[in-house]
């Protein structure tokens, strides 16, 4: 009995750590959806590209933190360019066209990574290698640092949206893009900026997560699937809901993997997704009135 309790506590920590990274991926996704109704199928590839850029910058500079910073900035700029080139011309068209466009971008980025970096997974060394004792486990501090950093990034985004001048522009545009534009807010550029922010956050999570798994060209796929699940469970476009859903879904998976294999534990996410779609299609957490 004592053993099970320990296990549950350990899995709670694990679930929160994974949940925070997932939240970082998902908040960009939900922000992009909330403001321009674009389901960004290339989000997982921006995550993957962030991880690869992390590998490259780390190899050149030797600093993990510089790698995190540069990968985030470069992918944010790339996101801005992608939005201007592929999505801006589609504003006002059928949303299906943006799904096809972002899906196309995801294929291009994935194959570019395969061509550029090859099929063998790369490693990002952990910047913090010390451990602490969690019951009978030597638990890496780095995992705790990931959760804290993710929370910090999401917190900064929240503060920016709440108090920043451009944050108010973003919220006004989410609520009523026509009226926002009539108030002089350059809505097409707000879209570009939001896409860049979302891309940068995906890249940051890619670098942070890199040390825990290998970096490879298909690593975005798992994450994008989970991110889509939590975005739906949290309510499409609802930032707070996505964050809560990320932690909730990750905890469910972590607890499930006490009894079944981690691969089977993923089923827990889908169960949550299906139940949400059946009973609370607007999302598990407070529906956002527009």
């Amino acid at each position: 009995m004592q053993g099970l309790l320990d296990l549950i506590l350990i899995q709670t920590v694990n679930g929160i750590v994974t949940g925070m990274i997932l939240a970082l991926v998902a908040s960009g996704l939900t922000l992009i959806f909330g403001i321009m109704d674009v389901v960004n199928f290339a989000h997982g590839e921006l995550f993957m590209l962030g991880a690869y850029l992390g590998v490259v910058v780390l190899a050149t500079t030797g600093s993990f933190w510089l790698a995190l910073l540069f990968a985030t900035l470069i992918v944010a700029l790339l996101g801005a360019a992608l939005q201007i080139v592929t999505l801006r011309p589609l504003i006002g068209r059928d949303p299906l066209t943006t799904i096809l466009a972002t899906f196309g971008v995801s294929l291009v980025l994935q194959n570019y990574a395969l061509w550029q970096f090859g099929p063998v997974a790369r490693k990002i060394g952990e910047p913090i290698t010390s451990h602490f004792t969690l019951f009978y486990l030597e638990y890496p501090w780095y995992r705790i640092a990931i959760a804290a950093l993710s929370a910090g990034i999401i917190g900064s985004l929240w503060l920016f949206l709440k108090y920043g001048r451009y944050g108010i522009w973003i919220r006004a545009t989410i609520q009523d893009r026509v009226m926002a534009q009539a108030m002089g807010i350059p809505v097409p550029w707000v879209y570009t900026a939001v896409f860049a922010i979302g891309a940068g956050m995906a890249a940051a999570s890619g670098v942070l997560f890199g040390p825990l798994v290998g970096v490879n060209h298909a690593m975005g796929l798992d994450w994008i699937l989970k991110a889509f699940i939590v975005v739906v469970v949290g309510g499409m476009g609802n930032l707070g809901g996505s964050i809560l859903a990320s932690i909730f879904v990750s905890l469910m998976e972590a607890y499930a993997s006490i009894w079944v294999s981690p691969a089977q534990a993923v089923i827990a996410s889908f169960v949550v997704l299906i139940l949400t779609l059946l009973f609370r299609p607007t999302g598990l957490f407070v529906p956002t009135p527009k």
Partner: protein, 245 residues
């Protein structure tokens, strides 16, 4: 056209503007003008193209032909954000308050423009809080929680934040209590006093005649009658024919 109805240098001029929504012809060759600092009314029954006229000026609807000029330049087809920065304020029919933004944040959407100093911002805010004390009291409250009348005030105050040369007012008295209607009339007087032109779309004939120097009567997307308010007020026949009141 009598001399009293002409304007030396119009701020807004529409000449033979046609607009379509899908296949329906909404504006059918409308022509009108508003002078600097002038308050002009647009009257007409529902669905004759009054709101579309304002949306066309604001760049929210693209004219398929004809000329739309603002301040001496052709603006037909310009983006609304550019027109807002040039000096056109828009108060839409359904107010379109940013419901989840506070009163203050709603105002800041128009205030946080390039080249507006902090002093200027404070002066503008002080001015609207003087005209609309209730907005000052509720500055931290979400826009969606205000009453209809308060939302209308916020919509007008928000447009004033742009320091516009003209405000396009779309049925500001719709659904308001009589006391609020007279307050809207007072606000229009304040705007006129500040030298802001107003193009007022209304169903309320007495308010329009009292507030506006000139009135256009629109039917089927074109101007059918154009007169000074004093003249129109004495002409029950025209009002009955076009407005049915």
């Amino acid at each position: 056209m009598s001399a009293a109805l002409a304007t030396a240098e119009p701020l807004v001029r529409l000449a033979d503007v046609h607009t379509y929504y899908a296949k329906s012809h909404i504006l059918d060759g409308i022509s009108l003008h508003v002078g600097r600092g002038e308050v002009v009314g647009l009257l007409g029954r529902n669905g004759v193209g009054k709101s579309t006229t304002l949306k066309t000026i604001m760049g929210l609807v693209r004219p398929s032909s004809g000329s739309v000029q603002f301040d001496g330049r052709e603006i037909g087809g310009s983006a609304p954000d550019r027109l807002a920065r040039l000096g056109i304020g828009y108060v839409p029919e359904d107010r379109r308050i940013f419901r989840l933004l506070t009163v203050m944040e709603n105002l800041r959407t128009g205030l946080d423009r390039r080249g507006v100093t902090e002093n200027r911002k404070q002066a503008l805010l002080a001015k609207v809080f003087e005209y609309f004390p209730v907005l000052g009291e509720r500055r931290g409250q979400a826009g969606g929680t205000l009453s209809g009348g308060e939302q209308q005030m916020l919509a007008i105050a928000r447009a004033m934040m742009l320091e516009p040369k003209i405000i396009l007012l779309d049925e500001p008295t719709e659904g308001l209590m009589p006391r609020m209607v007279s307050q809207i009339g007072a606000i229009i007087d304040v705007l006129r006093h500040d030298g802001v032109a107003v193009l007022l779309v209304e169903q309320n004939v007495p308010l329009t005649l009292a507030s506006c120097a000139r009135v256009y009567i629109i039917e089927k997307g074109a101007v059918r009658h154009h007169a000074a308010s004093s003249e129109l007020g004495a002409n029950d026949e025209v009002i009955r024919q076009y407005l049915g009141v």
